[in-house]
Amino acid sequence: MKLMSLSGKLIAAAAAISLGLTACGGTTPANPTDSPAATGGGGGGEASGDLSITFLPKNLGNPYFDTSSKGGKAAVEEFKGTFAEVGPASATPDAQVSYINTLTQQQVGAIVVSANDPQAICDALNEARDAGTKVVTFDSDTNPECRDLFVSQADAAGIAKVQVDMIAEQIGDAGEIAILSASANATNQNAWIDLMKKDLADNHPNIKMVEVVYGDDDDQTSFDKTAALIQTYPELKGIVSPTTVGIAAAARYLSTSSAKGKVAITGLGTPNQMREYVKDGTVKEFALWNPEDLGYLSAFAAKNLIDGTIKGAEGDSFEAGKLGKFTVGADSVVLLGDPYRFNADNIDDFDF
């Protein structure tokens, strides 16, 4: 009995080992995707005509990226390509690098990525480009030398301005405000915050920005940081949260807090997340672009790069389905448009 079970184990082990050896032997000759050494510049790949387009958001399970991917999928289906979405469970650059490497091996036509770090995923993207894959960044850019095109949701100045305008209108252009951001290293949030500080200093001398706190785009952390802000600064008049997770968590805290009505909340949010807080009066107005359009435009940009219609150079122009014609600007950036303000009057026209 004992002997039998032991020999059984041995046979199984031997079988597995021999299987493994055959498999290892088989790996050596199959060498199609051994990527050439990254040369840094990258992007020399020829147009492959393979319309397989994979979206790689910062992380999965984020409603904002669910919406942009929805737009991307609609576009890809329109031009009869193959759509896929992959991504890490949490928004870290090292996990994104693993996914980019996988996509390089799979030799997809284009990667459409929102970068968790402008530098850390750079070399991996250039390796993908050397292997012939086109790279479009959207939402959050990498360094310009690591991608063919950046599809920008709105220019930073416009985003910063709309948020400063909204908070100034809501608090009567005077008093203490705070900012609830995403992670301390979020590329776009930091750029906007710097511009907002400058706009406040130049044009709104009576508004005092007391602190920037970071909710790490985590609902609970953002909720707790909101509570802490309101306790720490009893004179606080408003909170600006330039991230969809942050503004929703802040509004949720405020909607049941005694500070409701005294502290204004605005920033960047999505209509579906903010609808109940706009309806119950916690939030007057917030802004965003349409992430669905952003994904849609990014997918069309990727298609045109694969087709060879555009190279990503300044002045290149292309048709993006229902959105019309777009022209590539300086640094290979395509601009979606101005931010859009959502309030009680128009929020029910939107569903994302």
């Binding site: 493994g20 790996t27 199609p32 995707t33 992959v86 949490s90 799979q106 750079c122």
Partner: protein, 347 residues
């Protein structure tokens, strides 16, 4: 007591059987099975590029797991390694930005690792606090300093020759250069843990601290040394991580400690101490890495990958406890039978 009985039972089997039928071999067989199955079933898995990317992805975890293994064998744990990766990354980056040469900045970052490890070790051995509590504290402390030092910025302009070295392959092979460093470390740790009296002391501490002390092992000194080594290796991992991704940031490698501990436990190191070996740990790291790599190539989503590795970990821990329990019962029964007088005519 149960563990002592198990020891006698283990040693009651011939050497070849102890080598073939144990936790480490089971993980190695499982690893080979996963590699074999993925090579057949997953398109593009059986390519050299897979091996390159897999080894680059797990290199930091592999190094840190080497140092985590002896710590967990003594029954301690070091949860601060992920934060130490972040801290050493930032120290390295900040010093480089301040004009220090790369080698000097590396040495300084390693020194920070040694100091952090010494802090852990002294709090555990001199004050007598549990390692779990101490390293949860230093996990927050190191991460806090790291994020505080660099704030919202990142240091990225590392010299190309260093960042490409971190990704370079050994000429003519798909194996990254960093594996040479890993193998050197592996040999050092294997000699220390499996072929020295210091290493036997490590196992003895895990079985019983009192017995080990009585036997002549300097328990406090051994544990302190292991924490210092863990800090230095985590710092080394941090330097490698920084060069590999070309970016020194305060939040680098957040949560890495759990990946390391998961792989170490999967590799057969008992969370109660006293048991484990480096070859099992390496197989554990590679198993998790290979699974993730294969599942990614098979277009399985990140959530499902986490669920699969989680289930694997739970099953392996439960299975090993179950085996221990069955063996302990059998030993008891055997002891009972052998203590009854045997008739002289047997045989």
């Amino acid at each position: 007591m149960m563990s002592l009985e198990r020891t006698y039972q283990d040693y009651g089997h011939p050497l070849w059987r102890r080598w073939l039928v144990n936790r480490e071999s089971a993980i190695i067989v499982l690893l080979i099975a996963v590699l074999a199955y993925a090579s057949i079933a997953v398109p593009k898995f059986a390519t050299p590029a897979t091996l390159t990317y897999l080894l680059l992805d797990v290199a930091t975890i592999l190094m840190i797991a080497l140092a985590m293994t002896p710590i967990m064998i003594t029954g301690d744990i070091d949860l601060s390694v992920g934060s130490m990766v972040g801290l050493s990354s930032v120290v390295f980056g900040v010093l480089f930005q301040a004009g220090w040469s790369i080698p000097v900045a590396i040495i300084a970052a390693l020194a920070v690792g040694a100091l952090g490890g010494a802090l852990n070790g002294l709090l555990v051995t001199r004050i007598g606090l549990p390692a779990l509590a101490v390293t949860i504290g230093t996990m927050a402390l190191f991460r806090g300093i790291a994020v505080g030092l660099l704030g919202t910025t990142a240091v990225t302009k590392f010299p190309k020759e260093w960042t490409s070295l971190a990704k370079a392959k050994i000429p003519g092979t798909p194996i990254p250069m960093v594996m040479i460093l890993f193998v050197v470390l592996l040999i050092a740790f294997a000699l220390m843990l499996h072929f020295s009296s210091f290493g036997r002391g490590v196992y003895a501490i895990g079985r019983s601290k009192d017995a080990a002390a009585f036997y002549g092992v300097n328990v406090a000194r051994t544990r302190l040394i292991l924490f210092i080594i863990s800090g230095v290796i985590a710092a080394l991992g941090g330097i490698y991580y920084t060069l590999r991704y070309g970016s020194a940031r305060g939040d680098n490698a957040t949560g890495l400690e759990l990946q390391v501990i998961a792989a170490v436990v999967l590799g057969g190191v008992s969370v109660f101490g006293g048991r484990g070996a480096l070859h099992g740990v390496i197989a554990g790291v590679l198993l998790i890495g290979a699974l993730s790599s294969a599942l990614r190539l098979a277009n399985v989503t990140a959530d499902v990958i986490n669920i699969i590795t989680g289930v694997l970990l739970v099953v392996s821990v439960v299975a090993s406890s179950l085996i221990d329990w069955v063996q302990a019962r059998r030993t008891k029964r055997l002891n009972r039978t052998s203590s009854t007088p045997q008739p002289a005519t047997v045989g």
